[in-house]
Each structure stands twice: as C-alpha cells, then as structure tokens.
C-alpha cells in the first residue's frame, strides 16, 4: 500500500477549475515536488492535502485512511509556509513547543523535544529570541523545526525558500533534503523553481493550468519531457518546427536542413509539420561527430555567463541557443560569424501533441 494516495482530486473555483484531475501515489519517505508556474494549481493541491481547501471531488488517503473529511488540526500534517508564519509573540522555543503544548505532552518531554529540534536546526543558542530577531533563513529553519516537532506523518512545504536570497536558498535546500532523508518523512514540496525541484526531489509533478503534465524522476523530466509544456518549463529549450520528409527513417526538414531523429516518427505523414525539442547543452559549434546532424547558420548573440558561454545561432526561421563551456584558451565567437551547429539525432525529442 502506498503511504499517500490522491485520486481524481478536483477543485473548482468560481471562475474556472483550480485543479482538474490530480492522481498520485506516494511511497513512504519519498520527496515529491509540485512544479509549475503561478496559478497552475500546485498550492491548491497542497492546501487540499493540508485540509485548508475542501476538494470539489476526489480522495486523499494517508496510510489507507481518507482524510478529506478531517479538519486540518486533526490530520497530523506538518506545514511550512513561504512567509515562515512564526508566531511573533512567541520566542523560538515557544514556537517550536506550540504544537506539543496543544497536544498536552508532558513538560519534560516538551523541553527535551524542543532541545532536540534546536540542535537539529543548529540554532540551540537562539531559543530565547523572538522571530523579528532572526534572519529569514533562521526563521525558516525554526518554522521547519516547529512543523517537525510533533512528529507529523507528512510534511508539506509551500515555496519555503522563495523569500530568501539565492545563497541562503541554495544552502537551506541542501539542509532540508538532508533532514528529510535523515528523518525519512514523506514530503511534498511546492515550488516554481525548476532548479530547486530538480535538485531536491525523488519525483517531480509538473503541473499546468490545473492539470498534471508529467510525473517522473528529475532525470526523466529533464531528459524525456512528455509534453511541450514540460519541455519548455523545465530547463532552457530550443523548440524547432519542421516537416516530415521520411517518417520511417525519422527524417525532418527544418529550414533548409534535413536532420535525422533518433527514432522513426510513428504515424506521421510526409509533409506533416511537427515540433521538436533540443536542449542547449546537446548542441555544439565544435567539430561534429560522425552521424551528427549539422545545421549551418550565423552567430546572432553571445552571452558570457562565467563557466558557461551561451551562443545563439540564427538559421532561416529558427534560432538555436546552445551552451558551451568557457575555454580560457579560445575567445567566444563574435556576432555575425558563420557557425556550424551539430547535435546527435537521439538528442532531438519529438514533442507530444507537437503537431505544429
């Protein structure tokens, strides 16, 4: 039996559908991220799991028990909010102890647990401070400790790092993941930051307009996007539109170049227009390997990003953006220079629903 099962979950709002049909089965100890743009339904889904929103229909089962009818304070689900939501009138220790006091745990147990939590978040000396005396990162650590103090069966995090600066975000990301692995707590993490989702998750649920676009491991989501939306939302992507010249051979004409795909295009007819995806790191302007596709164009733009140099090459109707590593021995190419772009047939992904 899966630890968390969500079936046919739907939430209708006045104007339209918040979440259309959401299904997922989560194993105990898994770290799942809901990834998508604003308004895609990821937070609404999380809030339905927490009990703050009532689903229009569908079931949410935790260890086989349907929790939809339970109030949020009966679900034993810990939650961490984007705005920390620490109680301003309470010290760090009082914030962490809040849930334990509500549960009427013995005083010595509360003290022991608070000390454990403070040690866990590496802030044992700040127990007497008020939230306003802490930095954003410290506040979010305390919020995490508070959510975990009562040993919830499920941990929900609603964009917990988005209010923090980039450096703190990166370090806290690692700390949250380490903590989650150590405690083995099943976690649902909502974010619109693809890097965060890719770095932290066991699986990612990519959502768009209230619908699930794809569920998969980060490697799968990034390298084998199921839909055009996933391909464009996760990572940077070149979307190319071409016409089929030989479906069985996987041959396609893009601008004035004929390129090969890694596999035949099943069911396509000659002359049919299709969309394809090519990751920037899959293309190169160095010497092509045998069997690579080759397209000749001119450099349109060069962005020096430090370790990476992002080059845009213009063809007739398309621009391909590609990433190369910085090489201190060679200056980046100049704008207007001719360029030969090469990429392996297997790196060109046919997009589902990609009929252009």
């Amino acid at each position: 039996m899966n630890f968390l099962e969500i079936e046919n979950l739907r939430k209708d709002f006045g104007g339209g559908s918040g979440v259309r049909r959401f299904d997922i089965a989560v194993e105990r100890g898994e770290f799942i991220s809901f990834l998508g743009p604003s308004g895609c339904g990821k937070t609404t889904t999380l809030r339905m799991i927490a009990g703050f929103e009532q689903p229009t229909s569908g079931a949410i089962r935790v260890e086989g028990r349907d929790v939809v009818a339970l109030r949020p304070n009966q679900r034993n689900i810990g939650m961490v909010f984007q705005s920390y939501a620490l109680f301003p009138n309470m010290t760090v220790a009082q914030n962490i102890a809040f849930g334990l006091k509500i549960a009427r745990r013995p005083q010595d147990e509360i003290k022991r647990r608070v000390d454990e939590m403070l040690a866990m978040i590496k802030l044992p000396s700040l127990s007497g401070r008020y939230p306003y005396q802490l930095s954003g990162g410290q506040q979010q650590r305390v919020a995490l400790a508070r959510a975990l103090a009562g040993k919830p069966q499920l941990l929900l995090l609603d964009e917990p790092l988005s209010a923090l600066d980039a450096k703190i975000r990166a370090s806290l990301r690692g700390e949250i993941r380490d903590l989650q692995r150590r405690l083995g707590i099943t976690t649902i993490y909502v974010t619109h930051d693809q890097e965060e989702a890719l770095a932290m998750s066991d699986r990612i649920v990519v959502m768009n307009e209230g619908r699930t676009e794809q569920i998969g491991a980060p490697f799968e989501i990034y390298n084998r996007p199921a839909t055009r939306f996933v391909a464009s939302f996760v990572g940077t992507l070149n979307v190319l539109t071409g016409t089929i010249t030989d479906a069985d051979r996987g041959a396609v004409r893009i601008d004035d170049h004929e390129i090969r795909l890694g596999a035949p295009v099943a069911g396509a007819k000659v002359g049919e227009a299709r969309s394809f995806a090519l990751r920037p790191e899959a293309a190169a302007i160095s010497a092509p390997r045998e069997g690579d596709n080759i397209m000749r164009g001119a450099i349109e733009d060069v962005s020096f990003l430090g370790a990476i140099v992002r080059v845009k090459v213009r063809f007739k109707d398309h621009v391909i953006s590609l990433d190369t590593f910085n090489n201190s021995a060679h200056a980046p190419p100049g704008r207007g220079d001719p360029a030969t772009v090469s990429f392996a047939p297997a790196d060109v992904q046919l997009l589902a629903g990609g009929q252009a």
Binding site: N76, M79, A85, F87, N89, G99, I102, Y130, G150
Partner: protein, 262 residues
C-alpha cells in the same frame, strides 16, 4: 527662517492657539474660586464630593464591562471576517459605522420602547438590568472605534497564514484566538479599550435617559448649578481622556519597540 517653512509653522501656531486658549482660560477660571487668589479649591470640592466619587466609580465600572463585552464581540467577529469572510467586510464596516450617524437619543428611545418594564424583555424593570442595558448601549456607541482599532490590528498581521500554521500544529479555534491572534493585536485592542473608556466616562444621553448615576449626568448637574466646579470638572475629564490617549501611545510604543527591536 525660510518663507517655505513659515507657512506650516504658522498653521501649527494657529491650531495650537485655537486648541490651547480655551483650555488655559478654563483652567485659569477653575483656580479663581477663592476671591483674590488662585487656588485648587474647586478641585478640592469636586474631588471631595461623594457624588463625584460614586458617579465616577459607577462609570468606570460600566466602562470596564463595556470593554470586556465589546472585545468579546468585536475581536472574534473582526478575526473571522479577516480570515474567512473578507467579501463581507464593507457590510460589517457599514454596520459598525451606524452609531456615528444614529444619535444616542434615537438609540435610547428605541431601547426604552423595546425594553421598557411592560415589554417582553423588561431591561428597565430593575436597576441591575438597566445597568446591563446601558452597557449594551455603550458597546453599540463604541463599536466604530473598537471595530476599527481591532480591524487595523488584524490587518497588520498575516491572520490567514498564522491561523493555518496554528491549525496545522493541531490548535483549535479557541487556542488560535487566545494564544496566537489576540496577543498579536494586543495594542489594537488596548487602543479600542481606551477609546471606549474615554467615550463611556463622559457619556450623558444614554445614562441620563436610563436614569443611571453615571459621571456624564453628574457633569451636567454640576455644570448647571455651580460656577467654578464645572471648569475644574472639565479639566479633570480632559485629563482623564488624555491619560487614556497617553496610555495608548505608551503601550503602542512599547510594542512597536519590541517588534522592531528598537
């Protein structure tokens, strides 16, 4: 002084003169009870008057009851509107503003008509029940101030997220309100409480027409029959009101300092 600065200073000076001159005149007059010399005789007479002590004590007690009832009514209402029923806010704001446009005399005649001794709910049949009716009346009169103060406090905190955080930690509505929400709007509630106190202490119409021995009717009685004592009373009443305002500032400042660490 530059001419650009002269205008504001002039406006402040005119405002101050307009405000302070009558006060100084009243205070000066209140000191003239003894012929040929300034003294606090009028204050001694007033403060020594048992009717002053009794009426002030009565009004203070009714004010405390009004504050308790007002907070118990307004705080959960304003909280629930902020948390769940935001579309209803304009309606509730309109209702809470009604006491400002409906005169107290209309209110008290309505009470007397509805709750007289021969009615179904005879609040005016005995003094204690009339005290209760007076308290209800004061809760209504102070509603615009109490609601606005509490509502402003609630808007300054993230009620929804704090409530949801407490809910996810297992808290029920009572615990959320008492342990999380009210402590964070303490200053707002105190502001509403002091404003209510200032209103109740000087109120005349309700107390007089309900025939209760409150401070307002005592002020009127002294004003109608004495020469110097009314001025002394006016200064005392003014001092009480300003002490209430000062306490709002004091508590507000302490809390702001605590929240910002300054």
């Amino acid at each position: 002084m530059k001419s650009s600065r002269l205008g504001p200073w002039l406006a402040i000076a005119i405002g101050a003169i307009y405000f302070v001159t009558p006060l100084i005149a009243t205070f000066e007059f209140s000191l003239r009870m003894k012929r040929g010399e300034y003294s606090f005789e009028a204050y001694r007479v007033i403060l020594g008057d048992p009717r002053f002590q009794a009426s002030f004590g009565y009004s203070a007690l009714i004010a405390v009851a009004t504050i308790i009832l007002g907070v118990a009514l307004v705080a959960p209402t304003a909280y629930w509107i902020e948390y769940k029923l935001r579309p209803l806010r304009p309606v509730v704001e309109f209702i809470t503003l009604l006491p400002l446009v409906i005169p107290a005399i209309v209110l008290v005649f309505g009470y007397l008509r509805t709750y007289n001794s021969s009615s179904l709910i005879p609040f005016t049949a005995n003094p204690r029940a009339t005290d209760l009716l007076l308290t209800f009346g004061y809760v209504t009169l102070s509603l615009p101030y109490m609601y606005r103060a509490v509502d402003t406090g609630l808007r300054s905190i993230d009620v929804r997220t704090l409530t949801e955080a407490a809910l996810s930690l297992g808290a029920g509505w009572g615990a959320i309100l008492i342990k999380v929400i009210l402590p964070n709007v303490r200053v707002a509630i105190l502001s509403g409480a002091f404003l209510t106190f200032a209103i109740v202490i000087g109120e005349f119409t309700l107390a007089s027409l309900l025939d209760r021995p409150a401070f307002g009717p005592y002020l009127q009685l002294i004003g109608a029959n004495r020469a110097y004592e009314p001025s002394a009373l006016a200064i005392i009443a003014f001092f009480i009101t300003w002490a209430a305002m000062g306490l709002i500032q004091l508590f507000g400042h302490d809390r702001r300092a605590a929240m910002t660490g300054r």
